[in-house]
Amino acid sequence: MTEAHPVAATRMKKALARGSKLIVADPRYIKLAELADLYLPLRVGTDVALLLGMAHVIVRENLIDHKFVAERTTGIEEYIEHVKQFTPEWASSITGVPAKDIESAAIMYGSADKASIYYTLGITEHICGVDNVQSLSNLALMTGHLGREGCGINPLRGQNNIQGAGDAGAAPSDYPGYQNVGKPENKEKFEKLYGRKLDAERGITKVTALDRCGDGIHAMLIDGENTLVSDPDREHTEHALKQLDHLVVIDIFLTETAEMADVVLPATAWGETDGTLVNTERRVQRVRAAVTPVGEAKPDWEILSMLANAMSIPGFEYDSPKEIFNELCSVTTIYAGIDWDMIDDGQYQWPVPYKGHPGTPRLHEDGFISGKGIFKVIGYRDPAEVVDDEYPVWLTTGRRLQTYHTRTQTGRSAGIEYLAPEEYLEVHPENVQKWGLTDGGWAKVTSRRGEVKIKVKATPRSPKGTVFASFSFAETPVNMLTGSGYDPNTHTAELKVCTVRVEPM
């Protein structure tokens, strides 16, 4: 959190200064672990086991919020039966975390009046990402840590507008405002609004689309994403994009992905663009242009409108982002109470269902949108790859404070280039010695999918047997190694776990 969401971490540090307690569960001894009251160094990919062990203790110690469970949830009986078998000792045998620490964590979380959960991609980028999230949800439901100030399950969004993209309907399953594609009334609504026939089926995820390049998918339009470097298993991605008959990329630089395109359309950058962004708190905020665009660059909305018009798709006669945002507000319920002129100070967190509604800083205060909170019976399964003789080391990937994603932007900022000029592999000092590596020397890292040459940094932040690197540097394409498996529900790649061999060079 101090690396990927530093300012949110400052808010957490302030809470600690006021006396809040902190439990950190992370395979790596991250900065936040130094501040924790309790640190749980779990083996990569074993979150479900840890959370099952905690649930077992919460049941055993009778820390269940019976009133909350009775009024707002369903399925507790089956869930209690299920977790009885998963003792802290069992969880310890899978996770490597001492059983007594799992007990302490469960008691600390379960007995607190208010407790909240924060997570990022360490939870979701697994083959069991959905299981991980639902395991967290089970803990929050059984202890009633939801719908009140200082409670809740809080995923921290990594990109400035991943929330807004989802809100606007950029996921295969939903029209704007999370209106399900599968419901006939939604299809009818959007056919009427857009003046053309729409398909009733849900779309496909990018992982599926890349798999089908050349076999079902023959052209792509990619807006503002360096897919080639950011996606897992780079060789596979490159091969897929090469199968396309037609690739159009909209971006601000000639990224590795743009270099493969048939047409590259130059977009305006941050600081040159007017529009809206939605942050991780569902806060709708305005970005504003401070300078005029470089060269002939145009804002994305204008490029997409021009393209739609050239493809004779009706309904793209826009003159401003204001018109587009207001149209989005008018077709959803979550934004129904706001418009472009009301969001100058970022005071609204959706849902804002009608004009005059103050917005919703906290979800689930009076109930869950879907009715009762459902306990999910979930079992532990190993990651897609497990260490063996050939690939005996766990690799986990992530981000660093100074760099952002594939460095399209931060790699072109002088001060950042000075602070973080290259990537390195974090290896426990004992492993450095044992594997014949040298601190600052080069290593070859090999997985079932590829190999990468990378500098070694000896650090006790990495546990023994697990190494870490970010995927930010094109010169050190760590995503050559990843891509061992995908969550079957979300198709999110297991970027947090794969197995590798580390050799000196």
């Binding site: 400035n160 398909d199 270099e259 529009g275 942050n279 401070a290 060269g295 994305d300």
Partner: protein, 144 residues
Amino acid sequence: MTMQDIRELPLIDLGVKKTRSICGYCGVGCAVDILSKDNRIIGIQPAMDGPANLGALCVKGQFAYDYVHHPDRLKKPLVRREDGKLHETTWEEAIQVAADGFHKVMKTYGREAIYGVASGRTPTEADYLMQKIYPRGLRHSQHR
């Protein structure tokens, strides 16, 4: 005088423009003031009244802005010509080539053969239009 008082002092008029915006990096959504002069961004200040950041800002938000004026920025549309290389062209031609390519693929393989990838980095308006172009085909918002 507190830091906040100092930050709120009127700038001596050196032609510096202050534009309230939101940082473009992670999902925290820190409010910032972009300082610009002669149509160049010359600095970023955290907004003390930013609802998400309350005056805080990280190293990326504070300093990683000079990419906006980097010489590598794409300034004109590019199309791949017969020599296999990308060449600068007009917007008119680039949009036509882009649209023709999609038309051709749709004609040969059907509407579902084209796929759009929306961005978690662009403003919401771009994502909305992307899904409007591909109300089914898309669709990915990179889960980060």
